[in-house]
Every structure is written in C-alpha cells, then in structure tokens.
Symmetry: C2
Subunit: 192 residues, 2 copies
DNA sequence: CTCGATTTCCTAGCGATGCTAGGATCGTGT
DNA sequence: ACACGATCCTAGCATCGCTAGGAAATCGAG
C-alpha cells in the first residue's frame, strides 16, 4: 500500500508543479507563451506527461482559474471584513478586485476571459467559483437596496468592475482615471 | 491613366472582399476559424495575396473592427435620436449596444476583445473609433449629472455594458436576467 | 508587332502550435 | 531471476501565421 500511496503523492505533487509553472509562465510572458512544449521543458518532463494529468491546455487553464478563484475570494473577504462602514467595505471590495486583476493578469484571464472548460452559473459549477461569487455577494447585498435582488445587484456591480478591468488592460480605457471611475460606481451604483 | 485607375479600383474591391469574407467567416464559425488559408480559399486567391493588402491577420481584424465601429455608432445614433425622454434615450442606447453585440459577436470581439493593432483612447485613434465613443457620449452626457465629467460617466457606463456583454457571452452570466440588469443600470448609474 | 521590363501572383516551405501513437524503459511482485 | 504493468519519451500528424523565390501575365517602348 505504501508504495502506491507514495506514487499517488508524487503524481499530485507533479500536478501542482504543472499548474504552478503554467501560472508563472503565463504571468511572466502571457498565455500565448504557455505552450505544451515550453511547459513540459520547464517541469523537466516530456509533453505527453501533461496529457496524463489534463485533457489538454484548456484544463490547465481551468486549474489555474480555480486556484485564482480561491485566492480572489480570500482577498476580497480579508479586505472587506476589516472595514467598518458600508461605503468603506464596498470601496475595499472594488479596489481589491481591480488590484487582484492588475497583479495577476494571467490568472484573471484564466478566470474570466479564457476558456478553461469550466461551468459557470450552473449546477456543476466548481465550488471555488461559487465561493468567489459568494464573497462578492456577502459584501454587496447590504448595499443592493430594498427593492433590488442582491444577486442581481452583485452581477451588475461585478460586470462593471469586469468591464473596467478588461477595457483598461486592452488599452481601450486609459488607466489614469481608474480611481474616479471607481468613485462614480460607488456613488451611483452602490448609492453611497 | 485609366488603366492604373482600374487596377486601383480592382485592388480596393478585392480588399473589401477580404474584409467582408473575414467578417462572415468569423461571424459564422468564430475567429479561430478565420485562418489565412481558409480566408484565401474563400476569396479564391492564394494566401500571399492577403499580405499584399494587410500586414497580417491582426490588421484584418482591425479592418473588421473599424467597419463595426462605424455601424455601431450609426445604430446607436439612430436608436437614441428617435427617443423623447432621457430615460427612453439611455434605455435605447443600452439595448442597442447589447443587441449589436449579440447580433455581431465576431465584430464585437474584433472591436473590444481582440487585438486588431488599433490605437484606442489616444492621439492616433482612428476616426470610426472616436466617433463610436462620441455617439455614446452625446447621449449619455445629459444624464451624467452636474458634478460628474460626461466623458468619465460615459466610460463607466460603457464599461458596465461591456462587462455584461462579455460575461454573458462566455457563460459567466446567465442571459435570462439581462433585462433587469439593464434596468438596474438605468435606475442607479443613470439616475433615471 | 515584338520584345524586354515590371508588376502580379502562386507554389513551396519555415518554424511553431496542440495533441497522439508506439515502443523503450523502469519498477514491481512472484 | 523473471515476467508483467505502469511510466515515460521519441517521433510524428495536421494545422497555424507568414515568407522567399520563381512563374506568368501585363505593360510600355522601339
């Protein structure tokens, strides 16, 4: 038994290595640079080994996305829990979200832009994704307003942040005015 | 002279054909299906001909984007001009925007998602792009509020719509609740 | 009308990509 | 010591964006 357990551990360890390496590579040189060959060379195995862990590149992206979702949920909760008044809480949420996207662009892409083969907003949605949305919901439901469904409000607020992130990162919006844009969102959407 | 003029016309005509074909192909099978080989075969020329018109695939995407920007600007103006009250105007803008994105997903991607090699929000930004933003600005500046910069407000409103479009199309948001989400944007962001 | 010069275009090929088939190699249990 | 199974790598396929180099068609001058 012990031998098989060790093999299992080593396999799991190698899988973590693949995901971590893919993430690093994507973060440093972009997802286009994450080719199966380069990735295989970085982990010092041949390409086919990747396919014994994942169906393909998509699933690797998906694995990075799940990792990112967990981290983002934690970051949002940590930032919002420490705040007192609602306005500060929501402001912290927005800034944490934008900051996460700015600091981890590749992870953000894996989560919300690329196809990682994950199910969203459905029955079979992985827990980390549900939890990330829940983290937003927890903070935002208190400012949704009485006649607005908290989940709906969270979706719209999230979409607004997501729009700012993607348009800014692709050069469609200038990064200089990010702060006033966030203020506007807080003032108007969140009625604060 | 006449001979050269005819040649020039034929070249321009072929260039239009390339852009139109790329757009059709992308709209029907997605941008991934728009390969230089397929595109060349559709227009009944060899691949190198494409490179005598465009530097590469990026520029072809850019050409489709410019076409789309012109159409979107026209659609937004047509929809908003016909409306009387501000609330109806902004509602028409939002719905026209989402409708355009839904009906022309590939063009929308070329405009706001893919890299078409175009300059945005800068000095050298092509006129169609500036004009598309101007179309939004014209309608939205009247509801920005007194103490809010109209351009800033337009950016935020646009980003919100863009977020809804992209998250919905990639399955991150369910399409069912699009209408109430828009209503929420109108009520809160646009104070209507 | 002919013939060199120029433009126009296509065939063929390069280095990559994601992914897979097949066999070699290693470790295991008897 | 040996045979069996799991493990892994070499080599290859089809496809991608893009380009070099020569064939073919067209043009202008004598």
């Amino acid at each position: 038994m012990s031998v098989q357990e060790r093999k299992g551990r080593e396999r799991a360890e190698r899988e973590r290595l693949i995901v971590a390496t893919a993430r690093d590579l994507a973060e440093q040189q972009g997802w286009d640079a994450v080719t199966t060959r380069r990735l295989a060379e970085c982990i010092e195995y041949s390409q086919p080994v990747l396919y014994s862990h994942f169906r393909g590149k998509r699933e690797i992206i998906g694995a990075v996305a799940l990792q990112g979702a967990t981290e983002m949920a934690a970051a949002v909760r940590a930032a919002t829990d420490a705040m007192g008044r609602p306005r500060e809480r929501v402001a912290a949420l927005a800034r944490t979200y934008l900051d996460f996207a700015a600091r981890n662009p590749a992870v953000y892409d894996a989560l919300f832009q690329l196809d990682g083969g994950l199910a969203y907003a459905q029955e079979g949605t992985p827990q980390p994704l549900k939890d990330a949305f829940a983290a937003l919901l927890e903070c935002l439901s208190e400012v949704a307003g009485d006649d607005v469904d908290p989940a709906l409000f969270t979706e719209v607020f999230w979409a607004s942040l997501h729009g700012l992130v993607t348009l800014t990162r692709t050069g469609r919006l200038l990064p200089e005015n990010t702060e006033p844009r966030v203020e506007l969102l807080l003032d108007r959407l969140a009625l604060l």
